[in-house]
């Protein structure tokens, strides 16, 4: 089951352009089971685009994507994937919905295999909220929570469906520093203890790097993809630490 080399996402030769403007050029990478991959790169480097291609929201003009070794075009086991988009907390502020309802709506509508765990929805919601430390807020309305709490609810929603991989696009934007640290510790714990595979787009490489084992460094093209430890010894990392985004932000 936990075959370490099992490929969960495979991206091969993917290029993508928005109305003729190139955003990604010839990207190939793979995510293995148990990986904690950080995707880094300057603004506009195509990180969000890459994530959207991985979860099937965008179709690449060239190249192919496999999820759990199945071609994306025919993949249908979406319950195995959790995705939290950039600025996910920018939802409609007048939308009347409680924390529990946010999670229930997703739990009740995601198709699960007959073999899946059949715990009652109520229990699953509570467990997911406990994981993110929000069990007391279940009945509160979503728009009465702080931005950081809302972000946690969305993580709980993604976890409740028991995905095998979680893809997060800059999940801590607008969250204060201590909460960011807690949040990344939580991701690290999920990765270590529950063997959840994680793909994280982030600008806070300094905070996450102790949890991460793989790094992808992106700017239209893939500049580095490999082990975090090797990345730390590479020139690119030194550039990054010196605040010199210029090397990886150089446009072609």
């Amino acid at each position: 089951m936990t075959d370490k080399s099992e490929e969960i996402i495979r991206v091969e030769g993917v290029s993508f352009a928005y109305d003729g403007v190139e955003a990604l050029v010839d990207i190939s990478l793979s995510v293995l089971r148990g990986d904690f991959l950080a995707v880094i790169g300057p603004n506009g480097s195509g990180k969000t685009t890459l994530l959207k291609i991985m979860v099937g929201l965008l179709r690449p003009q060239r190249g192919r994507v496999w999820l759990f070794q199945q071609p994306l075009e025919t993949f249908n086991q979406w319950h195995r994937i959790g995705y939290i988009q950039q600025k996910a907390t920018n939802f409609d502020p007048i939308f009347p919905i409680s924390v529990a309802e946010v999670i229930a709506a997703s739990l009740n509508s995601v198709r699960r295999p007959p073999s899946g765990r059949r715990a009652p929805v109520r229990k699953k919601i509570l467990e997911a909220l406990q994981t993110v430390g929000l069990e007391k807020e279940a009945g509160k309305s979503m728009n009465s929570l702080s931005g950081g709490q809302q972000q946690r609810v969305l993580i709980a929603r993604a976890l409740a469906t028991e995905p095998e991989i979680l893809l997060l696009d800059e999940p801590t934007t607008g969250v204060d520093y201590p909460s960011q640290q807690n949040f990344y510790d939580l991701l690290g714990k999920l990765n270590q203890q529950q063997h959840l595979t994680i793909v994280l787009v982030t600008h806070d490489y300094g905070i996450v790097n102790r949890h991460v084992n793989r790094v992808a460094c992106l700017n239209q093209k893939l500049f580095y993809h490999g082990d975090h430890s090797e990345f730390c010894q590479s020139d690119r990392f030194r550039e990054l630490l010196q605040g010199g985004h210029h090397l990886i932000s150089h446009r072609h």
Binding site: N76, Q85, A88, I94, F95, P96, I97, S98, E101, A105
Partner: protein, 267 residues
């Protein structure tokens, strides 16, 4: 048979049909308002009006015919939105003027049904025939079932479309379901409160519910409750004081909105 009995059975019929309409409008209104689609009922009501005119001109059952036309119109709206690079409200404006133009044209060609068509402008609850009660009940059941069977998916889609899409939900199907249910409800609304007020009926109770509700379940409950109070209360007021029912219904809905708004300000 005494005149009283006939009148009261007309009154009862009105209440029955009105109750069915209230349920459908109360449920759907919440979705339309939260999707910023409130004007979809405005656009569709004009298409439905053209449908009635066509039905009358062709000597077919106008309500049934109008449902068919309105369903087609609703699919056209979705298509324009998806493919013609039109903002939703422009697509609606396009279709509603097309509908009204068609109705006006038909009326000028065949003058003899003008009076009957007018009853769809302001609605005519006391003209509801016995067979239309069954139609109203059928439509109410259809809309309630369509919403309750898909409730979680609809909430998920409206709250977070992107995540819902990644969860493998068929968003386009759900969009179509909502707009087709709106089409059906609006034809029924046209019969009861008329073209000019049907938008208010689908939108005001939901807007009032949003003032008070803390979660989605409550919003649906309050919206249906306010819709029922407005329609049943409005019909009763109209019957007792001999007022136009459609106006009484909308005024009652507005009074409820004002109260809900004030209550929210107080607490």
């Amino acid at each position: 048979m005494s005149g009283d009995l006939i009148l009261s059975s007309l009154f009862l019929r009105g209440l029955l049909a009105g109750g069915c309409l209230a349920l459908a409008c109360g449920l759907l209104g919440v979705f339309l308002v939260l999707r910023r689609d409130a004007m979809i009922s405005h656009g569709l009501s004009h298409v439905a009006f053209a449908g009635v005119a066509l039905g009358l001109a062709l000597n077919l059952m106008p309500v049934i015919f109008s449902i068919a036309v309105c369903l087609l119109g609703s699919l056209l709206i979705i298509r324009l939105k998806e493919q013609a690079r039109l903002p939703g409200d422009t697509a609606l404006a396009l279709l509603s003027s097309a509908g009204l133009a068609l109705a006006v044209l038909l009326m000028s060609l065949k003058k003899d049904f003008g009076a009957e068509l007018m009853s769809y402008l302001f609605g005519d609850i006391l003209a509801i025939g016995p067979s239309e009660i069954y139609l109203a009940a059928g439509l109410a059941v259809l809309v309630s079932a369509g919403i309750s069977l898909n409730l979680s998916r609809l909430i998920f889609m409206m709250f977070d479309r992107e995540a819902a899409s990644v969860s493998g939900l068929g968003l386009k199907k759900l969009d179509r379901l909502l707009v087709m249910m709106s089409a059906v409800t609006i034809v029924l609304g046209l019969r009861i409160v008329g073209l000019l007020l049907v938008t208010g009926l689908t939108v005001i109770p939901a807007a009032s519910a949003l003032q008070l509700a803390r979660n989605f379940r409550q919003t649906l409950f309050f919206s249906c409750l306010f819709s029922l109070l407005s329609i049943l209360g409005g019909i009763s007021l109209a019957y007792v004081f001999n007022l136009p029912a459609s106006a009484a219904i909308i005024f009652l809905a507005l009074v409820i909105f004002a109260l809900a708004y004030l209550l929210k300000r107080r607490y």
